[in-house]
């Protein structure tokens, strides 16, 4: 029986270690802790965070709560007893849901002065823009060179026979880049034309995956054994391909299609949650998110563009990340009203 006792002891010890050894959240003594709810893709550098925490005598506790949709829903569900003080990661496709649920309080940060005016969609400042990026088609450079095929330039090109069987997109019902690309087609082809466009795309053997991970890592020829040289991703993805390469290449292995009307501009917002017990500190966090030190972190941590006009972009971003020349921008109100209908029409056209 000795062995059993040893095993039992081991398990108990492990349990105690786990419970005792983990970072304490509220035990930081005098320092007030501000909870910030974020989605999976949020990231920040150690140095920038520490400087802010020391400078203001605040500690930030991040709660990652699933993807953007799941995180927002949890914030709405916990309205009565908010999980956090600040929320980061509502994008313009979810904006109406967030504002409709009335979970944010307005705060007109002085830093809004240096934020790109076109990104401030909520004029009451309950949600302020932090970063943005364009969802568009990325292509495998080597593949197109090898095949001697010109790179498609517009949405209309994508339905031409020479590009048959080359594109992989994400399901708009389950993926946020997928939805953004659907919105790009709605914006460009119009509410009457987008179904026809997708019919043509389906005839051209478009492949649909449920999420970005599977499309990019499973089907895209530049990054996997998948055979498709065109994938819906972000206009900054090529910069990540260079930044996260084994040996940074001169030119990125992939590039983005940024022609007029081919991309959808996704904007991510932050706001102070209603019911926060420390609105003063929460405001400081919003200021921090909008100020240049954090804004300059955004490109290489999240591969989005900073909303603050004064933020300097890193070299690799200037060289390899592009913004679309005329991205589609839709009113969040319209998106909220029509989104279900558009997704249903898309599902009926493409999947059935």
């Amino acid at each position: 029986m000795m062995k059993y006792k040893a095993a039992l002891l081991f398990v108990l010890l492990a349990a105690v270690c786990l419970l005792a050894g983990c970072p304490k959240n509220d035990a930081a003594g005098e320092v007030p802790v501000v909870r910030v709810m974020v989605h999976d893709s949020f990231s920040i550098g150690v140095e920038v965070l520490e400087r802010f925490e020391k400078g203001h005598g605040i500690r930030l506790l991040f709660l990652k709560s699933g993807d953007a949709g799941a995180a927002l829903n949890q914030a709405i569900l916990s309205k009565a007893h908010p999980l956090a003080d600040v929320f980061y990661g509502v994008d313009n496709t979810f904006m109406s849901r967030a504002l409709g649920a009335d979970i944010f309080v307005p705060y007109s940060s002085p830093l809004l002065a240096s934020i790109d005016e076109s990104l401030v969609l909520d004029k009451t400042h309950r949600l302020v823009p932090v970063d943005y990026g364009d969802v568009c088609v990325n292509y495998d450079r080597a593949w197109f060179d090898r095949e001697g095929l010109p790179v498609p330039q517009s949405l209309d090109d994508l339905v031409r026979p020479e590009y048959a069987g080359l594109l992989v997109v994400e399901n708009p019902a389950t993926s946020s880049p997928g939805l953004a690309f659907l919105l790009a087609t709605v914006g460009t082809c119009g509410e009457d034309g987008f179904v026809k466009f997708w019919q043509a795309l389906k005839k051209n053997r478009v492949l649909v995956t449920d999420g970005w991970e599977d499309a990019y890592w499973g089907k895209f020829s530049a990054t996997s054994k998948g055979g498709r040289p065109l994938v819906v991703s972000y206009s900054a993805s090529p910069a990540a391909e260079v930044y996260f390469a084994e040996h940074p290449p001169e030119t990125a292995p992939t590039a983005a299609m940024t022609g007029s009307g081919t991309a959808f501009r996704q904007i991510e917002f932050a706001g102070i949650l209603k019911g926060s017990k420390q609105p003063e500190s929460a405001r400081k966090v919003i200021d921090f998110l909008l100020d240049t030190p954090f804004q300059q972190e955004i490109p290489l941590k999240m591969f989005m563009f900073p909303a603050n006009k004064n933020a300097r972009l890193p070299e690799v971003f200037i060289e390899h990340a592009r913004l679309a020349s005329r991205p589609v921008i839709l009113d969040p109100e319209v998106i909220a009203q029509r989104r279900d209908a558009w997704i249903r029409a898309w599902t009926e056209t493409v999947l059935q």
Binding site: M1, D40, S41, V46, D67, Y216, W217, A240, F244
Partner: protein, 557 residues
């Protein structure tokens, strides 16, 4: 039954019921009332919608038949292996047996990557076939098809049949079927008429777990099946997360739960008549060494096929994690140990492994604390109580993770239950999925212990507790170990609930893998593969450790 027996029985299930009440039914009730009775007003509109279009019923139908088909396939493929593992002793057995459970812990994105590296359009097999036989296009085209769903389900669940049925089988004396053979029965008849009826409870218990697992399948359906296939679980996720249609999500969850309850009810009734009492034997008498050439062929042939089917996708991952742009190297592994981007959320691999193993051990202990009393309670036929509680205790396994996750957010928000940001919530959620495995691992064996063994001990003057501890428990030790291994495995691999509930500074290994996959760039993908390989190694090591524990000083029973 004597009144004191009743009281003991109530005491037995009090803790598990309380646990279920607080961490399952209460959160579920809260989220359901939010969805179906907004503002306190009962609104059955969503439930009516459920049946008005028929699309939900179509989804239910697909969910059920793909699960049934997956279960049958897994059973057909895994039963021969279970026989070999039950009847033979051979070198490397426990290692191979442990490794069969590795698929269970891998995130479905990673398994999908492994499958496509082997069988994808540009995968190994297709390239070989094209090079060898001059096909102009890839001859194997199974991406985004039902075939890949079924293959993945077999790949994941093989171990469930192998372990549970294999363990049960190894306790049945081979003389039973030998007698039939001597009396002139054909081998098939001997199996069908003698072995199978005795084995049936084990097969049923394992099949039930596989069925429920495939029924609530999520990642496999999404990634390997592609967007054309949807199970109820997937439909619930879409409604809850993407459309935030809580009434519809709640109605679908309710449908899922009701179906499972009804299914389990039928199962329990069938199971009740299926148990055949037999005296469990020691492995010394039920297992034999490899002697003849037939033995050799049977054992090594099985092991070869097993390694081919389960091992090659795993090997593909390992190979991928080692092949960098500049040849074979440990580059991706080394990169795991550096916080190159100076990110606040960087987690050294050792820490992620520590959290994963820590959560898994806590889950293991809690699952045993819940699962063991439940199994003991259910092992005796108590009429209505059994037929109600048996399905009830299995429900958490069949409940959508996102529904329960949202339920936690709504329900566990006030002291003393303000657990939303606490660490314990992760193993709590894991326990709900893990303890049914403990119950099903132990129950078939427990039910088949003949009453006369217990009664003779009682007659000889042993107290009921002592009978338990000295007579029944030793017979159960191996089943308990199987259950414990499953609890550990389920926790290590759990992803759906963990991503909602885990704190970012305490991520598990699957979460760490997922983080790497979230950004473009070759280094990220390479590190995800390296982390997956580490996850496989840690899991295998954990199994071997648990395996060692179960062979006590008295030797295997």
């Amino acid at each position: 039954m004597r009144p004191s027996g009743n009281r003991a029985a109530i005491l037995l299930v009090a803790l598990p019921l309380a646990f279920l009440g607080v961490f399952y039914f209460y959160p579920l009730f809260e989220i359901f009332s939010l969805g179906l009775a907004p503002g306190g007003q009962w609104d059955p509109g969503a439930i009516a919608d459920l049946f008005s279009t028929g699309s939900s019923l179509r989804i239910l139908w697909f969910t059920a038949w793909q699960a049934a088909l997956s279960t049958v396939l897994t059973l057909v493929l895994a039963l021969p292996a279970a026989y070999v593992f039950a009847r033979y002793r051979f070198p490397g057995k426990s290692l191979i047996q442990s490794c069969t459970a590795i698929p269970f812990v891998l995130p479905s994105v990673v398994v999908a990557a492994a499958f496509s590296a082997l069988l994808g359009a540009r995968g190994l097999l297709n390239e070989w076939l094209m090079g060898m036989w001059g096909f102009s296009s890839p001859p194997i085209q199974i991406e985004q098809s039902l075939v890949s769903i079924l293959m993945a389900h077999v790949f994941y669940n093989f171990t469930v049949i192998l372990r549970i049925v294999g363990n049960f089988w190894s306790r049945i004396h081979p003389d039973l079927s030998h007698a039939a053979l001597v009396l002139g029965a054909s081998p098939w008849k001997a199996f069908w008429k003698v072995t199978f009826p005795v084995l049936r409870p084990g097969i049923m218990a394992a099949s039930l777990l596989v069925f429920i697992f495939c029924f609530s399948s999520f990642g496999v359906i999404l990634i390997l099946g592609g967007p054309r296939y949807a199970t109820i679980e997937v439909a619930i996720y879409r409604q809850a997360v993407h459309l935030f249609n809580l009434p519809m999500a709640a109605a679908l969850s309710l449908l899922q739960i009701c179906f499972m309850f009804a299914f389990m009810w039928v199962y329990t009734r069938l199971q009740r008549s299926a148990t055949v009492a037999f005296t469990p034997e020691s492995l010394k008498t039920t297992q034999r060494d490899i002697v003849t050439n037939t033995d050799r062929l049977v054992v090594w042939g099985t092991v070869f096929l097993l390694l081919l089917f389960l091992g090659s996708p795993l090997l593909a991952l390992v190979v991928r994690s080692l092949s960098t742009g500049s040849g074979v190297s440990l580059l991706y592994y080394r990169a795991l140990f550096e916080n190159a981007g100076q990110s606040v959320f960087y987690i050294p691999p050792a820490a992620a492994i520590g959290y994963s193993v820590g959560f898994a051990l806590v889950t293991l202990v809690m699952s045993l604390c819940i699962g063991l009393p439940v199994a003991i309670f259910l092992s005796r036929d108590r009429g209505l109580a059994t037929s109600l509680l048996d399905p009830l205790f299995m429900l958490p396994l069949a409940t959508s993770a996102v529904t329960l996750g949202f339920g936690y957010i709504v329900a566990l928000d006030e002291p003393p239950l303000n657990l939303r940001a606490s660490l314990i919530i992760v193993p709590l959620a894991h326990t709900l999925v893990a303890y049914p495995f403990v119950v099903r691992s132990i129950l078939p064996g427990l039910r088949s212990v003949p009453a006369h063994i217990r009664e003779s001990a009682l007659l000889l003057g042993a107290a009921p507790g002592k009978v338990w501890w000295k007579v029944v428990a030793p017979m159960m030790r191996r089943s308990l170990a199987v259950g414990a291994v499953f609890a550990f495995t389920v926790s290590i691999g759990e992803f759906g609930a963990t991503i909602f509930l885990a704190r970012p500074e305490v991520p598990t290994v699957p979460l760490a893998i997922y983080r790497f996959l979230g950004l473009p760039g070759a280094m990220n993908y390479g590190q995800a593969m390296a982390m997956s390989t580490i996850l496989m190694l840690v899991t295998a090591a954990g199994f071997l450790f648990l395996e060692k524990l179960r062979t006590g000083p008295e030797g295997e029973f």
